[in-house]
């Protein structure tokens, strides 16, 4: 009797999950697995596939454009993450001080960019960075700093910082929101205690709140990191990887390799390497942020 019940439960569970996992299988797992297999093969889309073991991987490590794209990807993601999390955390702490209604409105607005499509954000910022009519240059001219005007996206020295700035603008709201929510969960009595002991607001923040919300900070770091690695839309719209590959990132290089040059297997090799690097960086971040968690 009991066994039968268990069995019907198993069947039910599988039945409930089947449609969802069929789609996951189709959208993630099969292409992902095929990607790994392809990365060990030599294939241009027409001829026979043949296994070449690690040849593609060796090639990737000697491909200066790939190395450059991966370092660009990592730089963009890590710097965006650091900037967005630090600024988001600071903002959360400042908004924590404001009255409820007022703070809620600000939080909502600051969070807004996170839900605008990245491609659209890219377009918004082409208006800002445009070299003759762009807002940034107009503003600089307006305040008399004509010397600082720049062809922001056409200059290989400024292109990466520009992309990173957009990333921070876009993602800032996430760590802000997450940190704010967990700040609110801290019982005010703890701060009260600090205040009675004569701690200033800054001291209360650093010594009381910061350690308490550390897990949330770690989480928002991972959150932002995973988002900041998705550079395709943004970089594609802003620069397409230019000028002269100065802002080339892996997703763009990969799609170009596959769909422009039909080097499908090499493209998938880059995909596997990128996945590994992302996972390593995420694990490292979690490792660095690991520490005592406090119950309250």
């Amino acid at each position: 009797m009991r066994k039968r019940k268990k069995r019907t439960r198993l069947l039910l569970a599988v039945g409930f999950m089947l449609p969802a996992y069929a789609f996951i299988l189709f959208g993630f797992l099969i292409p992902g697995a095929w990607n790994i297999v392809l990365s060990f093969q030599e294939w241009d889309g027409f001829n026979e596939k043949k296994f070449v073991l690690f040849q593609n991987y060796v090639k990737a490590f000697h491909d200066s454009l790939f190395l450059r794209s991966i370092s660009n990807s990592v730089i963009i993601a890590v710097v965006t993450m650091i900037g967005a999390v630090i600024l988001g955390l600071l903002l959360a702490m400042m908004l924590y001080r404001l009255r409820k209604r007022e703070g809620a409105l600000y939080r909502l607005i600051i969070f807004m960019p996170a839900m605008i499509p990245v491609s659209i954000i890219g377009l918004l910022f082409t208006f800002i960075y445009n070299s003759d009519m762009g807002l940034l240059n107009q503003l600089l001219r307006l305040i008399g700093l004509t010397g600082l005007t720049n062809a922001w996206l056409e200059n290989s020295a400024t292109v990466l910082p520009c992309v990173i700035a957009v990333g921070i603008w876009r993602l800032l709201g996430m760590p802000m929101m997450l940190c704010f929510v967990s700040l609110q969960a801290v019982p005010p009595t703890l701060l009260e205690a600090g205040r009675i002991d004569g701690a200033s607001y800054r001291q209360q923040m650093i010594h009381i709140l910061l350690p308490l919300i550390r897990p949330t900070i770690a989480l928002s770091m991972v959150f932002v990191l995973l988002n900041a690695f998705k550079t395709y839309d943004l970089v594609y719209v802003l620069t397409k990887g230019g000028p002269a590959n100065a802002s080339m990132t892996v997703p763009i290089y990969m799609q170009k390799t596959a769909f422009t040059y039909s080097k499908f297997s090499y493209s998938s090799t880059m995909g596997v390497l990128t996945a590994i690097i992302i996972i390593v960086i995420v694990l490292l971040t979690q490792r660095i942020m690991k520490g005592e968690t406090y119950e309250f």
Binding site: F16, M133, S182, Q255, I278
Partner: protein, 278 residues
């Protein structure tokens, strides 16, 4: 108590907050204003509000640059995908939370974790090859099938976490009254999970409404395309026409802002629930 100092801190906090709000809003407001300016006016009056509202920018974006057609395609693709994701992942999330079956549940959660760490970019190309082999590269299905799959993991997770917070007794009672598992799901779980559904609906809508990579790769050879694809091709053709260009951008953003402002309560709730507990 040091009253003066406290006020000072508050002032700084408010100042910084207002500055961030300004920086966040300005690009969006700018596009809104530009979308109503004639191109000639734009060059003389970049910063100000338009002297004369030029609604024809919207007309020309919608009709002449065929943003309307892309809009329709986007509504169909995103609409069907979001509904499908919600239905299937609600079922799966319910099963994961309520019908705990040892190995199956563990494996199912494991799969979700794996998909979260997989960069979507590395799935695009094999998927394209699969779809072209299945001859599915010609229309709505091309986009809808993968979109459903991609939305699934996070949505399942949020549903699961949500069901976990619903007291077991609620379901037990229904079960004792003779409800089958499916009846339990439809009669008890579905009405209770409204907040989670709102969150998931927004998450998926926002994610898919602007999806560019797969949409541009898979529709490269066809006439058909979604809004982001349409806008990018618009930009390549008329990049100096800032007025209609901004109008097109506004057409994309507007539905998002509307949805977000109506349902923002759930959005924030869901973000913190899904992310913090997940």
């Amino acid at each position: 108590m040091n009253f003066k100092k406290l006020n000072h801190t508050n002032l700084v906090c408010r100042g910084v907050a207002l500055l961030s709000v300004l920086i966040t809003l300005y690009p969006i407001v700018f596009v809104g204003l530009t979308s109503l300016k004639a191109t000639s006016e734009f060059y003389n009056n970049i910063w100000g509000i338009p002297r004369e509202f030029k609604w024809s920018n919207y007309y020309s974006a919608w009709v002449t640059s065929r943003i309307g057609r892309y809009f329709k395609a986007s509504v169909i693709v995103v609409g069907i995908s979001v509904v499908a994701v919600l239905i299937f992942s609600a079922l799966a999330g319910y099963a994961l939370s309520r019908l705990k079956v040892r190995y199956v549940s563990a494996a199912a959660i494991g799969i979700i974790v794996i998909t979260q760490l997989m960069p979507l970019e590395s799935v695009i190309m094999p998927l394209y090859l699969i779809m072209s082999r299945l001859r599915l590269l010609n229309g709505y299905v091309t986009l809808i099938l993968p979109y459903i799959g991609w939305g699934m993991p996070l949505t399942i997770l949020i549903y699961k976490n949500y069901f976990d917070t619903i007291p077991q007794e609620l379901m037990e009672a229904a079960r004792i009254d003779g409800c089958s598992e499916l009846q339990c799901f439809c009669r008890i779980a579905v009405p209770v999970m409204k907040p989670a559904t709102a969150t998931n609906a927004i998450f998926n809508f926002v994610g898919l409404w602007g999806e560019l990579l797969w949409a541009s790769v898979s529709t490269a050879t066809s006439q058909f395309g979604t809004l982001p694809v349409g806008i990018i091709s618009f930009k390549q053709q008329f990049s100096t026409d800032w007025g209609p260009m901004s109008a097109a951008i506004c057409i994309v953003i507007l539905p998002l802002i509307l949805i977000f402002s109506f349902l923002q309560k759930y959005f924030v709730q869901g973000l913190s629930n899904g992310a913090l507990k997940g």
